[in-house]
Symmetry: C2
Subunit: 170 residues, 2 copies
């Protein structure tokens, strides 16, 4: 089965991001707005229980934290993705690193940059238009991150939920 690990920011952040995703993200209907902690990976049923226990350990040892989304950025020309960038992203990178250590090392094609996608798989023109209109805008969005989720992918490409992992209290 295919799994993924993600953080969902607080509702008002998800609502704002969805107002863009509706137009610019073909994954809009497949999953709510999220920060990916670990990209889609395959896990056999017999390894699920151990993985869940390991994720619980990681969650318990990290304190909840706040992050701020402060500006729009993009991954062009690597990919035609526009996203909300995260100020002081270190705790998310740390969480990502700890999670990756549970799994076989993969030759990751890119460095991990935590981000909240607002558009992807856009045409060049669309990307430049949207980025051009949003790049000067100041965002003042904050969200508490006190949990992350293990999801699994259904046959239609959408993501269903397996389990929540709560970080320690702040």
């Amino acid at each position: 089965m295919y799994y993924g690990i993600a953080i969902f920011p607080q509702k008002r952040v998800q609502d704002l991001v969805n107002s863009y995703r509706k137009r610019y993200d073909p994954h809009y209907a497949l999953i709510p707005p999220h920060i990916t902690l670990k990209e889609k990976f395959e896990l056999s049923d017999d390894k699920l229980e151990k993985t869940v226990a390991d994720l619980e350990k990681i969650a318990k040892q990290m304190k909840a934290f706040k992050v701020r989304f402060h500006k729009v950025s993009h991954f062009h020309p690597t990919s035609n993705t526009i996203y909300l960038a995260i100020d002081h992203e270190e705790p998310i990178v740390e969480l990502h690193n700890q999670i990756e250590q549970l799994f076989e090392p993969v030759e990751a094609p890119y460095d991990y940059i935590p981000h909240l996608t607002i558009g992807q798989k856009m045409s060049e023109d669309e990307l430049h238009d949207v980025y051009g209109s949003l790049r000067m805008r100041k965002f003042e969005l904050e969200t508490l991150i006190d949990r992350f989720h293990l999801l699994y992918q259904l046959e239609n490409g959408s993501w269903s939920i397996y389990q929540t992992f709560l970080l320690a209290k702040q």
Copy 2:
């Protein structure tokens, strides 16, 4: 904020149900296939923590169980909904009853019948056609129910995840 409480059956059940929902359920893109434990309700932020603690208590005191989906049924003429009916539904009804006791009693318009929707808001003709073609079909689907989830609704009508509650081991 609006919340809901639901059970997601195992993946192969969700995949089968989605093959029908894609055509017959306008909520197809808003939430994965689910058994509703508590319909959409409003909860103020200051009551969230207590509600979560109460749901944890309920979950811990109930053992995980299996259910079987054995046939297709419908709620016509109350509503034009077709669903997979659940054999030995008692543990789900019990879970529902315990959860409802946490909240102000509401004048529920119908008895609670646990079900897994495969189509809703259908026209009369469509309902009769689909039910007619599925009513003789035997389903032999089983799913382990060892958790339920508290969800919240985004502005676009879709449901995001707040927390998982694990039942006690079988």
